[in-house]
């Protein structure tokens, strides 16, 4: 827990410093308008203050306090990687190729072995998505390798 508080305090501190430094490059206001720099500068100070408060809280935390984090985060990490690879592959493979590849592999990876679910969910969703997004709503999804089909 303590590490998480430190990380978030650190990230927020960086955000605060970035806002303060960035606001200095913005122009001053004209007339009654305080200008585009005031709000980011105010928020920068606020971020630094809350980061400081969080860091102080982290210092006060009992270092022996047992971590609430369990060992299953690796599973979630694999999900994040899966999602990242899928999202990254869509522009190249196209939505209607990347999706029917992603669904069965993910369903399989997450432990479902029944062909009914693996094949059924892939075919069912792909057909549903094609009808709804491509045919009905004409969403211009990435065509990728299937672009030659028009």
């Amino acid at each position: 827990m303590r590490l998480a508080e430190w990380i978030i305090a650190g990230l927020q501190g960086i955000l605060g410093v970035a806002l303060l430094i960035g606001s200095r490059t913005l122009s001053p206001g004209k007339g009654g308008d305080p200008g585009p720099w005031v709000w980011p500068a105010f928020l920068g100070i606020m971020c630094l203050a809350t980061a400081g408060a969080l860091a102080l809280h982290a210092v006060r935390l009992d270092p022996d306090q047992p971590s609430e984090v369990n060992g299953r985060w690796r599973l979630a990490l694999s999900g994040i990687v899966f999602a990242g690879v899928y999202l990254g592959s869509v522009p190249f493979l196209g939505y209607f190729l990347a999706t029917p590849l992603m669904i069965p592999s993910m369903v399989w990876y997450l432990g479902v072995r029944s062909p009914r679910w693996v094949i059924g969910s892939t075919a069912g969703f792909t057909l549903f998505a094609w009808l709804l997004f491509y045919y009905f709503f004409r969403v211009p999804l990435p065509a990728g390798l299937l672009g030659f089909l028009g």
Binding site: L15, G29, V90, M106, F136
Partner: protein, 499 residues
């Protein structure tokens, strides 16, 4: 003929009823799918209505608008994915009920309260169109600024166990919100020369990431052998007693929704969040909010749908559209040869009452669609988690991509998902980030506009009665609970000492 009877005659015709049904079905689909919104749906169907009579065409489009607001709640309840920003508050209690195996209750409450919201806002529209429209138009920068500050007090409700953590994540949201072109000077701020950042971070990809994608990662983390099997989920709808119990919450939510909807530019997300928060404040069991309260679903859903009637108030009465969707509706009216404005009520009362009556009928049709569809939605939710996870991922992609047809928003969604997962894992609430994203721009823009008008005089800027009222309410909302808790502690310690 009496204008009300004339309106009835125009609506209760087979072609108009059919048009309402088509509009409601299309709107439901638009609302369910993240990334598609009511304005897009109305624009998409508008060309198909050119040959229809004004009331039939407008009935179809308003049915789509109303139904899209309801549809957004279905994915919010089923998979923690708000179909559109107005459904954000529905995730708090709706998804909690789904996790308890009671999605039927949440979906049922959502559909009944949406119907109440739609009907009540139509009554408000019918009774107070002109006076409300005139009040709404008096809203200037000071009132919007104060409304934004009032909205920020919601952090105390959304923060969960730790108020400090709520403020910390809200600060992140406000900080991220400054990215993009400055609204007053068009100067770029924190865009690093990237054209995609000129408009700042879009709300929908952030919403999908923080809520749906992060939930998906949590689901993967919590996958156990039992969850590989088909989950036993009840499709039971709310009982009559439960439906009756949500009527007060629905009325309060509807009035908030209709009132805020009438203010041009205020937005349905703010209306539903304020309705949820106010319901929590007046509830005898505020501790149940966020963990599956039926009133916590009813109030924002009623508000969400009541915004439609509210938004039509300035559109019909003054010809001033308050939202993108009402702007398209206004265009549609002009295409049909109906000129909105105060004289519309004198010139074409049949059409005005026809629109009002069609709104009521639309809500009844939506209720019917909801009642028939709930069983199927519950079946979808009952799929094993490993099957649902990749499907949610694939739908999330479309939702984020469709906002600007670019991969940038997809990566924003992914980044928000990872950040949201990290925050949730360590006990930080994610909702205040979204609240800050919604309100940050409203507060800054109106503060600066107001100061420009008053030549930098802050006292003059805030010396308007409605603004003062909102600021007093904000102070009461922010400091009231703290003062109450301190007083309670003093009383308890005094009682312990036997004083």
């Amino acid at each position: 003929m009496d204008p009300i009877l004339g309106g009835f005659a125009l609506v209760f015709r087979p072609d108009t009823i059919f048009a309402i049904t088509i509009g409601a079905l299309a709107g439901f689909l638009v609302g369910v799918l993240p990334g598609l919104n009511a304005s897009g749906g109305v624009a998409l169907l508008l060309p198909f209505t050119y040959g229809l009579s004004p009331v039939t065409g407008l009935a179809l489009l308003t049915a789509l608008y109303t139904s899209a607001e309801y549809g957004g709640s279905v994915t919010a309840i089923a998979v923690n994915m708000p179909g559109e920003p107005g459904a954000l508050a529905t995730t708090f209690d709706g998804y909690a009920l789904t996790k308890q195996g009671k999605p039927g209750k949440a979906l049922g409450v959502s559909m009944w309260s949406s119907m109440f919201g739609g009907v009540i806002s139509t009554i408000v529209l019918l009774a107070f169109s002109l006076p409300l429209a005139n009040i709404a138009l008096t809203f200037g920068p000071a009132e919007f600024f104060a409304l934004g500050i009032f909205g920020l007090t919601l952090i105390s409700s959304l923060a969960g166990k730790s108020l400090a953590k709520g403020f910390i994540v809200a600060a992140i949201g406000l900080g991220v919100n400054v990215v993009g072109l400055d609204v007053m000077t068009s100067e770029t701020r924190f865009t690093f020369g990237e054209p995609e950042l000129f408009e700042g971070f879009q709300l929908v990809p952030v919403l999908i990431g923080l809520f749906a994608l992060s939930e998906l990662f949590v689901m993967i983390e919590e996958l156990t052998a039992e969850k590989l099997a088909v989950a036993k989920i009840s499709s039971a709808l709310p009982t009559t007693k439960e439906v009756i119990s949500i009527i007060p919450a629905s009325i309060r939510g509807s009035l908030i929704g209709a009132g805020i909807g009438a203010i041009p530019g205020a937005g349905k997300a703010i209306a539903s969040l304020i309705a949820w928060n106010e319901e929590r404040r007046v509830s005898k069991h505020p501790e149940q909010f966020g963990s599956g309260s039926l009133a916590g679903v009813a109030a924002p859903e009623a508000a969400n749908n009541a915004v439609v009637g509210g938004a039509l108030i300035p559109t019909l009465a003054l010809g001033v559209p308050g939202t993108a969707t009402t702007a398209i509706l206004l265009g549609a009216m002009l295409i049909y040869g109906v000129a909105p404005g105060p004289k519309l009520f004198e010139r074409d009362p049949d059409i005005v009452y026809g629109i009002f009556i069609s709104l009521v009928v639309s809500n009844l049709v939506i209720l019917l669609i909801g009642l028939l569809g709930t069983r199927y939605w519950v079946k979808v939710i009952s799929m094993p988690a490993p099957v649902m996870i990749p499907i949610i991922l694939a739908i999330s992609f479309v939702g984020a991509y469709n906002i600007g047809n670019n991969m940038f928003n997809v990566w924003v969604m992914f980044g928000s998902g990872v950040v949201g997962y990290g925050l949730r894992r360590y006990g930080f609430p994610v909702a205040p980030i979204v609240l800050a994203l919604i309100l940050g721009g409203l507060i800054e823009t109106n503060l600066r506009r107001g100061l420009l008008i008053t030549d930098g005089d802050f006292v003059e800027f805030l010396s308007r009665p409605v603004a003062i009222l909102f600021l007093v309410l904000s102070a009461a909302a922010a400091f009231g609970p703290l003062t109450f808790r301190s007083l309670q502690r003093v009383r308890e310690s005094a009682a312990e000492k036997g004083l």
